[in-house]
Symmetry: C2
């Protein structure tokens, strides 16, 4: 078992990484709450609820099982979970535990943030995306028909238990979606990780345990270091949105139904690289390496089903719009991302024309 610590003063917490951890009592030894509510979904609960409950021992445990899918990450479902906590008179010293991927984690975390103005929260991520990204850093949220993650809170977990054995049951499509975020970390600040991915993508797609453990550990290291320096996204943390302004717009324009989040991020990374090239910032050969790695991962590299002006419209409602000017994360090189709202408008138009809508 690997332990990484996210350093946030009094709100510091450990990330445990290893095979089989969710079924082991020791993984939850630090958890003092005697009353727990597990939020999961109809896909994950049948696979992992039983071993998790065994590991939790004699604690009082309730469950809320939501339907599976991003379209269920709603305020109405968060309210449903709150109703269960209240109906069962859970007190401030209870804990909410998320068993599942990013959707379950974001929603359960938002509930934990709001219930009685904040109760303890534990993440047990069962997808690669949640293990490398959404379970770390304290962002919680639900979606709104007007945009993704528009309603949420910063609420750090008390504990993250990343059981790598859960990846054996993960659908291939979700594995690839998680790898999009790993590619992102390489692009932001770790050219070695990016190059390693170029060489080892086949091993990752074949679910080689050592390869997966390597990228989970490295991703959590990078993300937790950035979060420790800028918990509430007042600066550097915005780098983690690389590819996400494009990606969120694609998800929103397709009503969250066509793509997994990580798939949208895959296309978003290609578009961020292309935009960087169009701005004269990124060497075209490096932009092409980005496109090729995303393609090799089996992720979309463009947004076929959305016309460029529609995608632009959806980008504008993105949370990163500041004073009406869209801020973007762009690349100077692979491993060197930066945030800017200074770019030629026609570079954005060209990027969208190349990467959105039916191929001319």
């Amino acid at each position: 078992m690997d332990t990484l610590n996210v350093e946030l003063g009094t709100r510091s917490y450990p990330i445990l990484i290893g095979a089989g951890l969710l079924g082991v009592a020791d993984s939850f030894a630090a958890l003092r709450a005697g009353h727990l509510l597990i939020v999961s979904n109809t896909t994950v609960a049948p696979l992992y609820m039983r071993p998790l409950r065994t590991a939790l021992g004699s604690r009082r445990v309730l469950e809320v099982i939501l339907p599976d899918g991003e379209e269920h990450k709603t305020l109405a479902n968060a309210a449903r979970v709150l109703d269960v906590l209240i109906a069962n008179r859970f007190a401030r010293d209870c804990a909410v535990l998320a068993l599942g991927g990013g959707v379950v984690g974001d929603l359960a975390g938002f509930v934990a943030a709001c219930y009685q103005r904040g109760v303890a929260f534990v993440q047990v991520p069962t997808t690669l995306l949640a293990q490398v990204d959404s379970s770390v850093g304290g962002k919680t949220a639900v979606n709104h028909p007007g945009g993704k993650n528009l309603i949420g809170a910063f609420h750090q977990p008390h504990l993250v238990v990343s059981d790598t054995a859960t990846l054996t049951t993960l659908p291939a499509r979700e594995l690839r979606a998680g790898l999009a975020e790993v590619i992102k970390y390489g692009l932001i600040c770790d050219p070695e990780l990016f190059a390693w991915l170029e060489g080892n993508m086949p091993a990752l797609l074949a679910r080689d345990p050592a390869a997966l453990a390597h990228v989970i550990r490295r991703s959590c290291q990078i993300k937790s270091a950035i979060v420790a320096r800028d918990e509430r996204e007042e600066g550097e943390r915005a780098l983690l949105n690389l590819g996400h302004t494009f990606g969120h717009a694609a998800e929103s324009a397709t009503a969250y139904r066509e793509w997994l989040h990580g798939e949208a991020v895959g296309a978003g990374l290609v578009m961020a690289a292309a935009m960087s090239r169009e701005c004269g910032l990124l060497d075209p050969a490096q932009a092409e390496r980005v496109r090729r790695l995303v393609e090799l991962t089996g992720l979309p590299t463009r947004v076929q089903s959305v016309a460029p002006p529609v995608l632009l419209e959806h980008m504008r409602i993105d949370k990163k719009v500041l004073e009406g000017r869209l801020r973007l994360v762009l690349l100077k090189a692979i491993g060197a991302a930066f945030v800017t709202s200074e770019y030629p408008g026609d570079a954005l138009t060209r990027t969208l024309a190349q990467h959105a809508g039916a191929v001319a």
Copy 2:
């Protein structure tokens, strides 16, 4: 104009206190947001929306006017306000402004806490209760049928503008409700304030401007000092719940329809003093002074319409229940409150028997 600073490091903020402040541009000079959403209610908006909008000058201003009353402090109404922010594409640099009493402030503050994981929030309290209590300290929440303030967040305002001139239009019943919280501050830690209230209650009820300004300033000083030492209620801040465990239960048992919050707190203070006496902690003469001051203020001193066992049941779902044991704020003396979960159960039974239900 008086300025008090609430010292919370990077989240410090000023409370401006004075007559006519809400109609003066200078009061909002520190506010950088160009896009504002004002949340108010059908009672307050007709009185003060126009001067406030004039003071806000050329900023883009939207309004959401809610029905007046505690029963409208719901998650559904918070969602309605969020819908307006999203439909109008307000960005992270917007601000939510609460114009009204505690209900409007709590709900608008919760919206500001959740929208895009937190946007700027300004309180313009127009009731005495909001000016001395709810606008200061960053507690935001909505009610749930299962209990008061069960869904919420800690989210500090950026600015509080307390216009004492608004108290001239405040119904007498609401003035008295606000005075309950002022009595509370005296009971917690300021015997001089308590004695001053015993001598000056007629002047306060006659809305003497100097008397009101004195209690607002002193109340904000006491509350902001406690909040500065314990922002998230991990210790000392719990003292501010004096009278509230009893009071919240009374409100909840009457479905928030019979009493104003401050009225319930009035009865709650009498019950907390009586309970302290029943526990042998408080001199009976001091308990009687508490009852008499609450009575002199024109506030209820018992919970006529709720039977003792029903009130006890509603106390048990209170947020302050820890590990199943109800924590109470009790008094060793006027001006010396403390938190405890150690008390004889029969003292609570006797207190409720004396103060709840029809008089035998």
